[in-house]
């Protein structure tokens, strides 16, 4: 698509819920945003900061009150683009129970392609590929009711993959999961991003999930207030605290050590990275 390497663009995006602009509640007040193709972006921010509203714009579930959103060059306000946008930008929601339509896993995964009017043989192929891609191929005939939260979310991701999207937008997919389920989902996303080059927009409250992202975007009161690589974002400990956000433990430790004069690299954000960094420090000259 015209050599544009941008997957998603939001320009001066404003969204107001309610009857009209004056009496409604403004959820987004002028968001400018660009997400590159193949990028893995995490959006963080407190409740009510507009993250979910933004996510719904990327799939044309909501339309701008003013400003515009482009998904792979397609303007969401143009009704002719609607279905192609929804196919291109797949959505995964928070509650794994409330996004499964069918009583059998493979039929749920088939739901999207069926809506697109794809031929049965090809749907069959896509469903089996998608389930394999999320590691759920052994559960194709299972009932969603008997799956764990993490497994359900992986099926939801497969359901989106079966539509061959270019970007997947996930609205707090891990909020209702236990640590094991969260890990399953995060590993799946990282793999899809790396191996299939799918752009990922991951909204989360768990800061530790954001440390591996290519970029972290912080939202506060309907605006993007910070955007940059995790090392940069998580070094702004005071700002993050002001916005009601956590800073990962390792980033805070690094901060404290640097304040005491130890030259700990800012790029150490996980336990493993920090251990390596400390060992390097203790043995270097």
């Amino acid at each position: 698509m015209n050599g544009d390497n941008r997957a998603v663009v939001a320009e001066a995006l404003v969204h107001t819920y309610g009857p009209d602009e004056s009496s409604g509640v403004t959820a987004l007040s002028g968001v400018d945003l660009e997400i590159k193709r193949g990028e893995f972006v995490c959006i963080i921010g407190p409740n009510g900061s507009g993250k979910s509203t933004l996510a719904r714009h990327l799939n044309a579930l909501l339309l701008p009150t003013s400003g515009r959103v482009l998904v792979f060059g397609m303007d969401t306000r143009d009704e002719r683009n609607l279905w192609e946008i929804r196919r291109t930008a797949g959505m995964v929601f928070q509650n794994p129970d409330n996004q499964m339509v069918a009583t059998v896993v493979e039929e749920d995964v088939a739901f999207g392609p069926e809506n697109l009017g794809i031929k049965p043989e090809e749907i069959r192929q896509r469903v089996s590929d998608a389930l394999k891609a999320v590691g759920m191929e052994d559960f194709s005939r299972a009932s969603p009711h008997f799956l764990s939260g993490g497994q359900k979310q992986r099926v939801a991701i497969a359901g989106v993959l079966a539509m061959m999207p270019s970007v997947i937008v996930l609205d707090e997919p891990t909020a209702m999961l236990d640590p094991k389920g969260r890990k399953e989902v995060m590993e799946t996303l990282a793999r899809l991003n790396k191996e299939k080059g799918i752009t990922v927009v991951h909204i989360t409250h768990h800061m530790d999930e954001a440390v591996h992202a290519d970029r972290v975007i912080v939202m506060y009161e309907g605006k993007v207030v910070l955007s940059g690589p995790p090392t940069e974002v998580f070094s702004k400990t005071e700002d993050l605290a002001k916005w009601g956000l956590d800073v990962p433990f390792v980033a805070r430790l690094g901060d404290m050590l640097r304040k005491s004069g130890f030259e700990v690299s800012r790029s150490a954000l996980t336990v493993e990275e920090m251990v390596d960094e400390l060992c390097r420090l203790s043995s270097s000259t």
């Binding site: 797949g90 959505m91 929601f93 509650n95 996004q99 069918a102 009583t103 999207g112 809506n115 539509m163």
Partner: protein, 274 residues
């Protein structure tokens, strides 16, 4: 309990009947029901009964399971029998106080009762050998010709699927909310009927709120996955009729012809009735 009625009915074994196309099964069951009401004497029922027995044997569903399906209807069955026994005029069988049982009543009661038993067993066989999912798919297809008459075949099937999907979830949720209210001292067990009904508010209000929220989120998720009604939609699973299906339909048609013949040949079980 509810779960047992709706989902537990399916008896999962491999058999010719299980692997048949749900559409063929629905068609056969429908024809069978109509023909059952065409039959007006015991010869007809003998033919239908044999057909039903053949179906049960082929389905590999154990007899006790099939017979169990009649149990909930037992009361109605006995009621029908007694009603006919005492209310049909004819030669006296015996007297009980002010009421009189007649021979014709006995025959008529047995006749209607037999019809009911065959009916229940045969239709149960449909749900015993067809999973709810297949049944839904089958119904969607079978109802398709009626869409021109305004029957929303796709929507009906989609509703059934979603209901099946969410029944276990909502049952679990009801259990959880009930316990949460009991933890706050709520009492769902004691008191008279009126009080008990009133005491259900703490259970029903949250359950409805939650069901509506789920419906809302599900609708959004479906839309996000390009759902726009039945138009232009394909299905991964194509239903295909095989030889067994055609043979089944052929058999039920033959049985129908036989029943019509028997009806003409032997006439009604009691002169003057249908």
């Amino acid at each position: 309990m509810i779960r047992g009625v709706i989902i537990g009915q399916y008896y999962p074994v491999r058999s010719t009947v299980h692997s048949m196309d749900p559409r063929a099964k629905i068609l056969i069951a429908t024809i069978f029901m109509v023909v059952l009401f065409v039959g007006n004497n015991f010869y007809c029922f003998l033919a239908m009964g044999l057909f039903a027995v053949l179906a049960v044997v082929l389905s590999k569903v154990p007899w006790h399971v099939v017979i169990r399906t009649v149990r909930p209807m037992l009361f109605i069955l006995i009621f029908t029998l007694v009603l006919h026994l005492f209310l049909t005029p004819g030669p006296v069988l015996f007297r009980m106080g002010p009421v009189t049982a007649t021979w014709s009543g006995l025959v008529q009661g047995l006749f209607i009762g037999t019809r009911l038993v065959i009916l229940i067993m045969f239709t149960s066989l449909l749900t015993l050998t067809t999973s709810p999912v297949e049944l839904t798919d089958g119904l969607e297809d079978v109802l398709r010709p009626f869409s021109r008459l305004g029957v929303p075949h796709h929507e009906l099937a989609m509703m059934m699927t979603i209901a099946l999907r969410f029944i276990p979830t909502l049952l679990e949720e009801a259990d959880r909310i009930m316990k949460a209210q009991m933890a706050r001292g709520a009492d769902f067990q004691s008191g008279n009927m009126l009080n008990r009904a009133r005491n259900l508010a703490p259970l029903l209000v949250p359950l409805f709120v939650s069901a509506f929220r789920r419906a809302d989120e599900l609708a959004l998720a479906m839309e996000a996955r390009c759902y726009r009604g039945g138009e232009g939609r394909t299905r991964m699973k194509k239903l295909e009729m095989h030889r067994a299906d055609y043979v089944g339909i052929l058999l039920v048609v033959l049985a129908s012809v036989l029943v019509v013949y028997l009806r003409i040949k032997f006439g009604p079980v009691i002169r003057g009735t249908v």
